[in-house]
Symmetry: C2
Subunit: 190 residues, 2 copies
DNA sequence: CCACCTTCCGAACGATCGTTAGCCTCTCGA
DNA sequence: TCGAGAGGCTAACGATCGTTCGGAAGGTGG
């Protein structure tokens, strides 16, 4: 992929995240490259192709980050690592993450199906951690692991709305993990 | 507001939630009423007015639900009640809640400012609960209440993506609350 | 019965949408 | 030195965008 083509993808990620897919025109994209809008079509076949590309890049980034999480060892540490990995991707590729979480739904046809499969698989990889944790006894044996995974994924998926580039995402993830593991209850309410 | 006008607002909520604000045309709205698109302008001054109306209705619904939460008594119970209230609104007014959480950002000018103020105030009402809980000792005295509120709000704000009308939102909220309060850690990892 | 108000129609507005076409001008390897 | 391909231009396409307008139904209250 040429340098110019890469530039276009980056601009698309930024603009789709900022103004939404339908709120971004080909004229906007062209202006970001300093070019006439017709010239975009030397690089792409359609605006929809850009959306797919950015959404797909998001899926790859999140999956790659999870790949670095060991699939053995204490579940508690793997949950922490998974949250760290997710938040790091959000902070380092905020535009792409935003498209991955919010704009993907404007995908159509085949691309939409492929994206949804990747997204479901990602969430399942999270769920497995909590199920395994319960089964191994590292998490409470009476844990509702589905709800637990949903809570963790909610924190992960909502992060793009408040997380800013440059944040200490490891510390943030650790705070979430501590909360999820040990709860908030104090002595006075026990 | 006439019955017809109300119908238009409902259609707008449904379509904005389904296809996004910029993905919904005035022709779509007109078709939902079985009318020519020009006829909409007997009822409204602009499409943007509908977005404001739906977003504002969402803000009112969420605030009204929180109003029913007592401002005294055990903080733990008030957190549970607040989560119940929020999830109930999401399930009972899913379209409006979706616009409140996701589509509001296409508001412009004055309306955008007013909405943001309402939204910030809503989140602040949540945050207060956790701060107060820590100060009163009902929650752990070493609690990071900002992160705690963020975690709860993440679960609340993400709910529109998975919650379906007719769910038992009270039970769902209680499961979240139990998790938030007592955590997931099991004996084996302590 | 008439005057009014609400609602809708049909047609059109200028603007903008995503996309296509033909042509020009570089750059670079053969 | 020449040919080719990459990348840009201008211009235009038909479609659709949100919105406006004048007029015509239809019901309601005086």
């Amino acid at each position: 992929m040429s340098a110019r083509r890469t530039e276009l993808t980056r601009a698309a990620a930024r603009l789709f995240a900022e103004k939404g897919y339908h709120g971004t025109s080909t004229a906007d994209l062209a202006e970001a490259l300093g070019v006439q809008k017709g010239s975009l079509y030397s690089h792409i076949e359609s605006k929809a192709e850009l959306l797919w590309e950015v959404a797909h890049e998001g899926a790859e980034a999140f999956h790659a980050a999870l790949d670095a999480v060991p699939d053995e060892g204490p579940v508690v540490e793997r949950i922490r690592a998974a949250l760290r990995a997710h938040l790091r991707v959000v902070a380092e590729q905020l535009d792409v993450a935003t498209v991955f979480v919010r704009e993907w739904r404007y995908l159509e046809g085949e691309h939409r199906q492929r994206f949804l499969a990747e997204r479901r698989r990602y969430e399942e990889r999270f769920r497995v951690l909590f199920r395994e944790g319960r089964e191994l006894g590292e998490l409470r044996t009476d844990l509702d692991d589905g709800t637990a995974a949903l809570l963790a994924l909610s924190a992960a998926n909502w992060a793009y709305t408040w997380l800013r580039p440059g944040s200490d995402t490891d510390a943030l993830a650790d705070r979430f993990t501590a909360l999820l593991l040990d709860g908030m209850r104090g002595y006075a309410s026990r």
